[in-house]
Amino acid sequence: MLRAAALVEKMGIPTASIIGSGFLKQADVIVKGLGVPLAIGVYPGAPMVDSEAELRRKVEEELAPGLLRGLTGEAPRETGAVSEPAPGEVVFRGTFDEVQEHFHRQLWTDGLPVVPPTRERVDAFLRFTDRKPDEVLRAIPQEGREASILSIAVTGAMAGCRPEYMPVLIAILEAMCDPKYRVEDSGSTPGWEPVVIVNGPIVKQLDFNYGQT
């Protein structure tokens, strides 16, 4: 729903959005991806589980005052566009553990260990495609960033893929970038996770672990 708020805000119409307190971190990430600061009114907890009386109290004491401040008070702060490295730039030097720690602190991982994406390893992935590294498949809505051939290679390296998986990784991203896939809806409250099925001769060519002996 914050996409709608951003659209309205970019029309020059001030908005205030209703967000449950459990979703504030998610809202913060989404707002950064939308590229416009948004005012938020917070509903403490989740309205679905509150009694009528409790809901009324929370709206009157917390949510409605927050929404009113959002419309009449100071404009929400800028999302703060900061200078960023160029794609393919070396951004850190360290041991395996130091790389893990740095990436974790930068929120560049989901908490699991990653394979350090060195230039040599990423180049190995790029050798398995004839597409140019700076080719952009689509701007992925959540973070408002480009999905490029280079970013696929870097992410594949971090995830522990073998370089020869690169054509499969590109195919996966092409599917996810199809508007029909609606990647912008992933991470919604009901939740869903993509499942990738790799089929055909490539399964043997890539030496996937499959079947029975």
Binding site: M1, V8, S17, I18, G73, A75, V90, T118, R145
Partner: protein, 111 residues
């Protein structure tokens, strides 16, 4: 594993690339706020979930108590911008907001 080695330490060291990619969104500023809502029109946009049918009237009541001259345009005027018809409904919002001479909007509900 490829990577530059520190001669004073046998442990491998790695030069790692930036794992993100270029931002593709043009940054915009927030719209100017409205200190006085009297005489203004506030649109309600609702994604038809999380008890908005109860919440929106309460919010309306709260704001009207402080700004008696405010006018609200109910969420039913704009349609549900969540779900399968999101793109279609969202595309229609600018014209509808202009038609109602909207000055501000309350958007919900993310919970």
């Amino acid at each position: 594993m490829a990577g530059a080695r520190d001669s004073s330490n046998t442990e491998a060291r790695y030069e790692v690339l930036w794992p993100l990619s270029r931002r593709a969104v043009r940054e915009a500023k927030a719209a100017p706020r409205l200190p006085d809502l009297n005489g203004k029109t506030v649109a309600e946009l609702w994604d038809v979930i999380f008890r908005g049918e109860t919440i929106y009237p309460l919010v309306r009541e709260y704001i009207q108590a402080r700004f008696p001259g405010v006018r609200f345009v109910g969420y039913s005027e704009f349609g549900n911008f969540h779900g399968a018809r999101e793109h279609e409904v969202t595309a229609s919002l600018p014209d509808k907001l202009r038609a109602h001479k909207t000055d501000a909007a309350i958007v919900g509900i993310g919970a």
